[in-house]
Symmetry: C2
Subunit: 234 residues, 2 copies
DNA sequence: CGCATACAATTTGTATACATAAGGTATGCA
DNA sequence: TGCATACCTTATGTATACAAATTGTATGCG
């Protein structure tokens, strides 16, 4: 009944998908979601369609919604496309930033740093997501933004293990990621497109190997996820 | 009542937006659309939301839908981003094409050539749209495709004058565009990514100057369109 | 025992009625 | 006459009832 109940629901579903609380391929039953979020089917269907437009869920005719899958074929495309998009967005952000943007970006970065210090995996991944999305907004390019958003969905889902410091090596990697964010902020602040581009590449290189391990973790890759393809995630 | 009445409506609305039959900024009243396409408000709202997700229309809270605007600020971004996206997509299409794709692409190109020979402006622009969208599908990159789709919306709307041969010079330009399509098909067929990239750049250069004229036609730019911001387009 | 078909149950799609919010108009007061 | 406020009109947002389609199950036949 509150006006922003829909917004809340939307953001919660995004969060649950990004944190793998709802694994790729899991079914989203309308009635169950309606009961959970206390609203009718009409607005819930609108939410599902919005999530579909954003790339979070896939819709099939008369067959309902399911969380966007992450099959291996697409993941190979992901690793090839990500550095390109991130580099382009970072350069544009450096060139088109406004000063208010920077304040927002710094706020997100502060929260992100805190989350990593607390070893809160899901929160770290979500705030990293918001950090890069904020850079996307600063780029002010409505044509590229949808691509960035789609990249970030899969990037964040893959990185759910990244911010879980299992070893000293991992801890160092996370610390370096935080530092790279700071450097990226500095480059964007000084409108240095070249530096921002280079830093985005460095940042990508840092996470790439770790992400690839998750995609192909010697035994078998996405099996853990694809096996659950038909589980209900509500 | 037929099942694909919705699909028909969706495609018709896309066409009318792309051909400027519905100018940028024009309001889309739900009840009027329902009457026109013979369906209830529920499915019509779903269509509007889908179009919103694709970038064809903009939605405002409690204020309905309107055709996506084309303001000058965004157009400057358009001209900078277009060659980048087109080049990337063309390369990927050459690298990832399947043979069935090529047959489809050739069919579209044949129809496109016919439309230009008939000097059918709207049809030419629409088939040019489908041609480049087909190349987008062939790239098999779900991350970049949304960017291409958004570029093509504005590109097609801008090009509505392009395929209207007002002079001998224009006619020649159109003929060259058709030839470039053929060359692009050949490059994609032979999986030559470099050639496809170069051809996409050439193709872009050909239309860029003409499109820029439309954006900034000496008197004033989008005024013709933005003035009609609140007209009803149903 | 295996498979196909018919039926039942569940889920999605559509229509309609109602609630709510925005915008315009008229009226009253300064 | 000008402006502010109250109200009325219109359009959007939500809920619910109904229709259609898909899936699972059971039964009958080969």
């Amino acid at each position: 009944m509150p006006v922003d109940r829909k917004t809340e629901c939307l953001e919660d579903l995004r969060r649950r998908i990004l944190t793998l609380d709802m694994p790729p391929g899991s079914a989203l039953e309308e009635t169950a979601l309606c009961a959970r979020y206390g609203m009718s089917r009409t607005p819930m269907r609108e939410i599902l369609q919005k999530l579909n437009g954003e790339g979070y869920v896939e819709l099939s005719q008369n067959r309902g919604a399911k969380v966007a899958s992450m099959d291996l074929g697409v993941m190979r495309v992901f690793f090839r496309t990500a550095p390109m998009i991130y580099a382009a967005i970072s350069r544009l952000a450096a060139e088109n930033r406004k000063s208010q943007d920077l304040a927002l970006l710094r706020d997100v970065q502060d929260d992100f740093r805190d989350a990593t210090n607390q070893s809160d995996t899901a929160k770290s991944a979500m705030l990293n997501h918001r950090f890069h999305l904020q850079i996307g907004y600063m780029a002010r390019n409505p044509y590229l933004l949808p691509s960035l958003e789609r990249m970030l969905i899969d990037h964040t889902r893959l990185s759910q293990t990244f911010y879980n410091p299992g070893s000293e090596d991992e801890r160092g990697r996370i610390a370096r990621a935080v530092e790279q964010h700071d450097a990226l902020i500095a480059a964007i602040e000084s409108c240095d497109g070249d530096a921002a581009t280079q830093l985005s590449v460095d940042h990508w290189e840092l996470s790439r190997d770790r992400l690839e391990q998750f995609v192909r973790p010697d035994p078998l890759p996405m099996d853990m996820l694809t096996k659950q393809d038909e589980t209900h995630a509500v």
